[in-house]
């Protein structure tokens, strides 16, 4: 199965879990208490989030805490950046092309004026 950040945030319960622990790590029970669904269901979501790299489980004494790894979310904005980069590169090419076109036109017209208008 696919395990990436898009998969991780595709489910509303998983998004809730990330929001819940974004600012403060919580142990597994505390996370589960916030949801109507069964504890095994929550465990499964946490497992997926872990596999997608959005959550890290940390053992502290007898308890296991869920810590959010939000850096991973950058991957989503990276797609937007890729589109931006593609456009920027394309517009650079257009800019060069427009310059070349105008230079060519200027040269042509100045060549013409030299030909036709022989003035001192």
């Amino acid at each position: 199965m696919r395990r990436d950040v898009f998969q991780a945030i595709a489910d509303p319960t998983r998004r809730e879990i990330i929001n819940l622990i974004a600012h403060k790590s919580l142990n597994l029970n505390s996370v589960a208490e916030n949801f109507q669904v069964s504890r095994p269901a929550i465990s499964k979501h946490i497992k997926i989030l872990t596999e997608c790299g959005l959550i890290e489980i940390k053992q502290s004494g007898r308890e296991r805490f869920c810590e959010a790894r939000l850096e991973k979310l950058h991957e989503v904005s990276d797609w937007v950046e890729q589109y931006r980069k593609m456009w920027e590169a394309r517009l650079d090419a257009l800019d060069n092309y427009l310059r070349a076109l105008q230079t060519a036109t200027k040269q042509q017209s100045s060549a013409k004026s030299k030909k036709h208008g022989k003035r001192k």
Partner: protein, 166 residues
Amino acid sequence: MANVNELKQATATRDVLITRIFDAPRKLVWQAWTEPEHVMRWWGPKDFTSPVCKIDLRIGGQYHFCMRDQNGQDYWSKGVYLEIIPMTKIMATDSFSDAEGNTIPASQYGLPEDWPNELLVTMTFEDLDGKTKLTIRHQGIPDGQMKEMTSAGWNESLDKLADMLR
């Protein structure tokens, strides 16, 4: 520099917003965008060629572009014109496609599976004393309901994007 709030708003709805001022009259910029013989000269990224470019510039008309990389791999895109105001505005859909013009899921091009098959692109052309301001808005890039996310990490990404525009 782009207004940071404007940018945050745009990225919150997963739009890519780009503006560029060209030192060229609007008529020429418009031609460079709408006439195949011009488009083929610049559309592809560096080291790409653009062997095919069909433009049927009318509402409901289609475009079909091909970019070819150095290894001869072709990347096709196509779309339908939804709005055309000569010298002023073009709005069109944007999809990946094959050589025959069939839509191809974005996942075949290595994008995530939840990527929409059709994006929306709007280009506006403004005259600035003989120069031309071009604004491109690329909409429909999936947000994965990221709007709900108020996490620090997400805001950092936006700030990073804002920095890039400075």
